[in-house]
């Protein structure tokens, strides 16, 4: 599963060279041979300076994200799939229907074409799965040692659904917090493949486009108040933000939070809190208690939401904090993690 390439190892004509980023014949060939056959569509194919899209009148959601994951390929996914899903999911959880993406590839000199091909294939597959087109793009090449193989930036637009009003300001005491499935798999799977930390695990990244699941959630007929995908910072980051933004406290029930045995044990081994570990295929949603069951049923009707669960509720306790009721019945505070979570010593 692990990538069998490190910067500076490829040789011959099978690798990206600086000239591929020069904007000349080599750039044209790179795109013609390695990008267009996989991603080609009516919008991208003309290779004009901008793509021109026709979208429904109304509100447009617009977002961007950069992807620098190491290693480029990890259990359950790769940087290409991540770059599509990350941006598509940011649109979806805003209540938008994702439409089109831009794709900027920053390639490091020496990157083998087979790695590039693998990633572009993966981008194409993920875009198909998500129902979006890659409408415009750019390619640059940087000198060896200035990037870890490849950096991808995607931006995306989506059309906002009518009648959706997602805002933490609408959240009230008693509202429920829902998560659509097992947490922490992505972060742990990537860590398991990282140089210097490599360990055997059955865990796979949950990276997936969430448009379909969000569609199911939006059609549940619930008074949906908030959605976010708990990526970096994990579930802890999202609920900490919610407590800050609403001025309300949140009580989470540890026993209700979906977490695989493997993830729980791996996190324990590394000294990490599963609540703080990144996910790439989950939604955290908030709705009134009366709508919670309806929402859970809707999630479970979708393959990506089979393990959806109500994990907590908002309360009026002050100051606003997130508290976790632990499996043993104790209580502790949940906070936004500081920067990168680091494995502990022993």
């Amino acid at each position: 599963m692990n990538m069998d390439w490190t910067p500076g190892q490829a040789a011959g004509n099978d690798e990206v060279v600086i000239a591929h980023g020069g904007g000349g014949e080599q750039t044209r060939r790179l795109i013609a041979e390695h990008v267009l056959p996989k991603l080609g569509n009516a919008l991208l194919a003309p290779l004009m300076d901008s793509a021109v899209l026709t979208v429904a009148a109304g509100r447009i959601a617009f977002t961007t994200d950069s992807f620098v994951v190491q290693p480029l390929v990890f259990p359950g996914g790769d940087i290409g799939r991540l770059a599509v899903c990350g941006t598509v999911n940011d649109l979806a959880v805003m209540g938008a229907v994702p439409q089109a993406l831009s794709l900027a590839l920053v390639l490091e000199e020496g990157l083998p074409f087979r790695m590039l091909d693998q990633v572009v294939d993966s981008i194409a597959a993920a875009a198909r799965e998500a129902g979006v087109v890659v409408a415009t793009g750019d390619t640059k090449v940087i000198e060896r040692h200035r990037g870890d193989g490849m950096i991808i930036t995607t931006a995306g637009i989506g059309v906002m659904r009518e009648g959706m009003e997602l805002s933490p300001r609408r959240i009230e005491p008693g509202d429920r917090v829902i998560v659509t499935g097992r947490i922490a798999d992505h972060g742990l799977a990537v860590m398991s493949a990282r140089e210097g930390l490599a360990f055997e695990t059955e865990l796979l990244s949950d990276v997936a486009p969430l448009g379909g699941l969000v569609e199911a959630i939006c059609r549940a007929g619930a008074d949906l108040k908030f959605m976010r995908d708990p990526t970096r910072g994990g579930l802890a980051g999202v609920v900490a933000d919610l407590a800050d933004d609403t001025g309300l406290s949140i009580e989470l029930d540890e026993a209700a939070i979906p977490l695989s045995r493997a993830a729980r044990h791996t996190a324990e081994l590394l000294g990490l809190d599963p609540l703080s570990i990144a996910n790439e295929g989950k939604v955290v949603a908030v709705a009134p208690a009366a709508d919670a069951d309806r929402l859970i049923d809707a999630c479970r009707s979708h393959p990506l939401g089979r393990e959806a669960a109500v994990i907590g509720r908002f309360t009026e306790a002050q100051p606003a904090l997130v508290e976790l009721i632990t499996r043993s019945g104790g209580r502790r505070v949940v906070q936004r993690p500081y920067g990168e979570e680091l494995p502990r010593i022993c």
Partner: protein, 371 residues
């Protein structure tokens, strides 16, 4: 089922603690500290049972001089520092390893010293120095790495040692006669290596009960209950509720490899000064792998950052909330001392998990500086 066992234990703890006045129990293991908070066990204890975190966080007990030494090495050309993640954010006099890395130093986070050996093997043009910190739990892995480096004939791997031994520090604290601690919750991981009998002098000389426990809520509660029972019965014995992992004599192969590679030496503990024979240094036969000898670094003087009370915190003399910097100028994002840096540090645990989930006062005190 688990819930029931926990509930029964808590009830028993309440009944036993009811026969006692204020009780101070010390855990001497960073993983215990974190588990007590993370599992919420701390919030379940009766008000008169106080858990104090002792010098059990490997990063926290590491002297400031060592951090400066590591930073000095990291700044030299051609040098790669391999370290456990917790170490990279500890501030030294000239910034942390994290800052040095941002300025171009090569600092690589590894999960095991063997990864550092592998890194050295695949980067023959670099001098790779592993920061050997931690107690009896991590020291055998460092010893194994040194043996592996020697077997493979690596000339570019060395260790900057600051390994420490738990028992000499406990005895040194007790010898001051100022310790208010009534009993010790002894570390599960360390005891796997040393065996539970190592705590015998504490019960014999200082008449403080010692109970070895694991890290699950039930283990923690059982350990605390046994300590309280000993206190009500006026006993001071070594007990082990973690029998699945810990034996009286410990792990002989881990002890052998420690003995083979290291020898006990005086060691500087943060704010506790030099404790005789409380550290491990490489034996003369392995001096080629000793970064200190190889690069001529001099162990800097130990000091506490101004205002920082980590030194008192790790000895259980001060609670984090009593430190004027806690949650004000010292937070996980801007740590002043190591107890806020390490995920196993007492201050970090207090800050992250709350002194107790229901204690909102702490967060009131912290005020607007928390964001």
């Amino acid at each position: 089922m688990v819930q029931n066992k926990t509930e029964i234990l808590i009830k028993q703890i309440e009944e036993t603690a009811g026969q006692l006045g204020d009780v101070q129990l010390m855990e001497i293991c960073g993983t215990h500290t974190v588990s007590l908070f993370r599992t919420g066990v701390k919030s379940l204890l009766p008000a008169n049972v106080h858990l104090i975190s002792g010098p059990g966080c490997p990063v926290c007990v590491t002297s400031q001089g060592y951090i400066d030494e590591a930073c000095e090495l990291a700044g030299r050309p051609g040098m790669t520092i391999c370290t456990y993640g917790d170490m990279v954010r500890v501030p030294g006099r000239v910034g942390s390893l994290e800052h040095l890395r941002a300025r171009g130093a090569q600092v690589v986070v590894v999960y095991s010293p063997r990864d550092a050996v592998r890194y050295a093997a695949s980067h023959p043009d670099r001098e790779v120095v592993f920061l050997g910190v931690g107690f009896e739990t991590t020291a055998p892995a460092t010893a194994a790495a040194v043996l592996e480096a020697q077997r493979e004939g690596l000339k570019n791997f060395s260790v900057l040692t600051a390994h420490k031994l738990v028992m000499p520090a406990m005895l040194a604290m007790l010898a001051t006669g100022e310790m208010r601690v009534n009993g010790f919750l002894c570390p599960g991981h360390v005891s796997i290596v040393t065996g539970s009998e190592v705590y015998r002098p504490i019960v014999q000389v200082y008449a403080r009960p010692c109970v070895v426990a694991g890290f699950e809520p039930e283990q923690l509660l059982r350990g605390i209950l046994q300590l309280l029972r000993q206190l009500t019965q006026g006993r001071a014995e070594v007990e082990n509720v973690y029998g699945v992992a810990v034996t009286p004599d410990g792990n002989p192969s881990a002890q052998r490899i420690l003995e083979q590679v290291f020898e006990p030496a005086d060691a500087v503990w943060r704010a506790m000064g030099t404790i005789p024979l409380s550290g491990l240094e490489l034996r003369a036969a392995w001096s080629d792998f000793d970064a200190r000898r190889r690069f001529g670094v001099i162990f800097g003087k130990d000091y506490d950052p101004p205002g920082c009370r980590c030194g008192e915190v790790i000895q259980g003399k001060t609670q984090p909330i009593e430190c004027p910097l806690f949650a004000r100028t010292c937070t996980p994002a801007t740590p002043v001392g190591p107890c806020m840096v390490s995920s196993e540090g007492t201050c970090a645990a207090w800050y992250k998990y709350g002194r107790s989930g229901t204690d909102r006062a702490m967060f009131h005190n912290a005020g607007g500086s928390r964001r």
